[in-house]
Symmetry: D2
Subunit: 285 residues, 4 copies
Amino acid sequence: MRQSAILLINCPDAKGLVASVSGFLYEHGANILSADEHRDDASERFFMRIEWDVADFRLDPAAFPAAFESQVARRFGMDWRVEYSQRPMRVAVFVSKYLHCLADLLYRHQTGELAADIRLIVSNHEDARRHAEFHGIPFEYVPVGPGGKAEAEARALKLLDEQEIDLVVLARYMQVLSPEFVERYEGRVINVHHSFLPAFSGAKPYHAAFARGVKLIGATAHYVTEILDDGPIIDQEVIRVSHRDQLEELIQKGRDAERMVLSRAVRWHLEHRVLLCGRKTVVFE
Amino acid sequence: MRQSAILLINCPDAKGLVASVSGFLYEHGANILSADEHRDDASERFFMRIEWDVADFRLDPAAFPAAFESQVARRFGMDWRVEYSQRPMRVAVFVSKYLHCLADLLYRHQTGELAADIRLIVSNHEDARRHAEFHGIPFEYVPVGPGGKAEAEARALKLLDEQEIDLVVLARYMQVLSPEFVERYEGRVINVHHSFLPAFSGAKPYHAAFARGVKLIGATAHYVTEILDDGPIIDQEVIRVSHRDQLEELIQKGRDAERMVLSRAVRWHLEHRVLLCGRKTVVFE
Amino acid sequence: MRQSAILLINCPDAKGLVASVSGFLYEHGANILSADEHRDDASERFFMRIEWDVADFRLDPAAFPAAFESQVARRFGMDWRVEYSQRPMRVAVFVSKYLHCLADLLYRHQTGELAADIRLIVSNHEDARRHAEFHGIPFEYVPVGPGGKAEAEARALKLLDEQEIDLVVLARYMQVLSPEFVERYEGRVINVHHSFLPAFSGAKPYHAAFARGVKLIGATAHYVTEILDDGPIIDQEVIRVSHRDQLEELIQKGRDAERMVLSRAVRWHLEHRVLLCGRKTVVFE
Amino acid sequence: MRQSAILLINCPDAKGLVASVSGFLYEHGANILSADEHRDDASERFFMRIEWDVADFRLDPAAFPAAFESQVARRFGMDWRVEYSQRPMRVAVFVSKYLHCLADLLYRHQTGELAADIRLIVSNHEDARRHAEFHGIPFEYVPVGPGGKAEAEARALKLLDEQEIDLVVLARYMQVLSPEFVERYEGRVINVHHSFLPAFSGAKPYHAAFARGVKLIGATAHYVTEILDDGPIIDQEVIRVSHRDQLEELIQKGRDAERMVLSRAVRWHLEHRVLLCGRKTVVFE
């Protein structure tokens, strides 16, 4: 596997951005593998993802930040970060009783589709333990009793700290996270909601969709923010249903949409392809 | 072209329904071409669409109602109606300034995809007149001035009466119909809304979808009821969009979804494939 | 769970078919749950699937065949069979080294989506053993050494006999079955081919699709016949790809199409929704 | 409308490509609007499309070629060209008796979706004349009598010459072009084939697809080469069909796939988003 570095930039649009960044990389010996740019007309901001082979690159990870900041980033007022493929993200998956999304993520992890270091599966139920063990991933049972939510969350946060988790995936985790949790992991918690947001936000979306008589059933992967089901959307998927589908079939079909949409969103995040742009996302597929 | 009759039934579920209906048809010489049934578990009602070749059928349209009512329908408490393919529906299309849905319907009508007798195009603008003339369909300009809505609607209703219109298609008609109009043509007005309902109901759905950052843009064809954008859904369609799509591209892509979904819904209605089931539809494709 | 019976009919089209079948069922107390009919214009044959609640049905499985044959089937020259939901099909899954289709089938079996009695997993490799054990399903390692194909197949057939297998699913099984095997299980072996047939039949379809530069990658589930990749198609699925997808990504995306298409085809077969019509299938979804 | 220039590059991969191109553009005052890159692993070639606002750009179209060639292109062995949005492509549409693709192109042209200068509609039948006149585009009837193919083609080529046509769109034109024609307009003739290529190449693809019993019906837009239906694929689309669809319905559904796929391909070509890469295309959507 080729080792690469990925630079992510978000800054006010200006002339010379691409020339400066690519010039800087070239001077230090980078062989660019891919580059994606986007200009958001509403905010007049520029987004860039640029990936290069580190084989001949003469700036090591320790030296990169100061050099790039002084030679390029400061001048353009860039928000930026650099990631290295040799350090895969550390991931924790939170799950409750529905295991289809977890099973799909673990399967794709096993086949190498998801370049992640899954450190932890956290659940308020015991159902996922066997799956965790089958895949050799530590399982933590963190029950949420009546009035015990703050305590449970504290324990979960401690586990995330210990494992230095970069990304939390809510794979049908049926507990609402506190604002403190959300703030601390801002832009680093991905949830799958089982509807085509903004339709049917909140509880029991399949029941609501069934009652409304929709002809497509949807799922949405999004970053979690303080407002429920309102965070920036990463991906959405729908599946055709008909009058023949009773509630149970609708839930079954929806599961396929959930699995696909969450796996894609997680993969894009792991490959540093998703940038936040206000309430929206830029996804460099 | 084979001439056929289509019987549509909606009644409480009971044993012997299929046997009674098919037995009655067989006795009178029907050769069944297709039959579709659906049982709605929630309401415990049964829906049926049965189509037969009228070539050897020995009950003519005048005699059918009394015979079927006394021999079958009464016993099961059926809501029913019979339609004949030799009498295509009489259709009026209402349109404002966006002509893509109208153009698509007229094109499909011309190729024979839509077995309709389009009697009339009604618009509160002059833009559609050339299209109407190109296709040889009468065009009626019914402007809606300030305070002139009731008068305009009265004129439109008079036109519908004169032409004995069976189906009104709102092909991006930007006026809200009065409750009286809706009631009079209940289950006979199809609208296309340019969003994936129930998301983004009301005005400017593309703007709202763009602001929310959705990754799929949708369109919905539905029967019009008194409550705006709330009627039974006939069909829905979505098209993938990305951060690269600015509002204008999103509107362009959405147009394709609108055209496809409205044309399908109209076709199904014209072929008597759509039955109402409370707030939902049963679509026998 | 409601117990039901399913009658499948294939016969020359004739008047009175639906009336006779539904009349017969009604006389014996059947409450029809669903009915599907299809007339194939080319062959002028009629296909029917009719399902009823057996709760009040007065013909038991032992008495049904003689009664239906003499009272209905003989008169219309019907090919027919009846199935009972209380006897789920007995299934054997054959797999080689790629486990994604197997994993998907086992997952859906576990959630109750596939109403099957999976008796056996057969493989020419050891890779699937852990999955089989995790799901508590017997695993049989049947290696195919050089020149040992006939012997291996004999052993596989013996296993199928012992378990009274109704359906063989080839979930990326990389051995070609002998004509004798195929003939013996005619219409009862479902294979997934990793291309949009008839394009790219034979070996290495992903490589061929990549070389051709297709923009959609496909998968096909079909019944196995003597001619490779030529049997009646049950379902097909495609996934969009682009120039950015190298061979490896194309294979990854294709896996999702394979999993979905095979699971759907197997499910429809298990629910007796697939009828053969010459080289084609009628699928009563 | 913003005026822009678009630079298209195809060259052996090398370090410094992006830096050199973007540096050159920056020096001359370009404000980059978008940039897309692709590295083809098989050929080790690099593809780039870069678009900039010409408002402050200090190299006019007359001076650009020599400057870019000497300062950048020569060093990297680039195949390149530059296009200007103020000069839309000149297009000729060839059509026979099926008008759905033509109608769709003309409709999109009218709404401004296709930034083209459609100079000419050429047909071997009179059917399209009314459409051409409705849209105010010159129509040329070029019949192809028995043995008159060479003469007809000569006349068509003369028309293309006179109008300085950049792109020929075969919108269901049922004549095979001669190798001389194809060679002269290499990479500048787009055809729509009514199947999912490479399946069902050649004549009557819908009949072949119907006979094979496929469950998805497809269409392919591709550049025309000497070998029939073998040119680089620009886009493909499929639509789901079932056993209920007889040949006629399959053709109707296929028409929607044809229209969508051809319009997308033409649009991408007009916006200089398609680059040839051997037998494949790179499409910078």
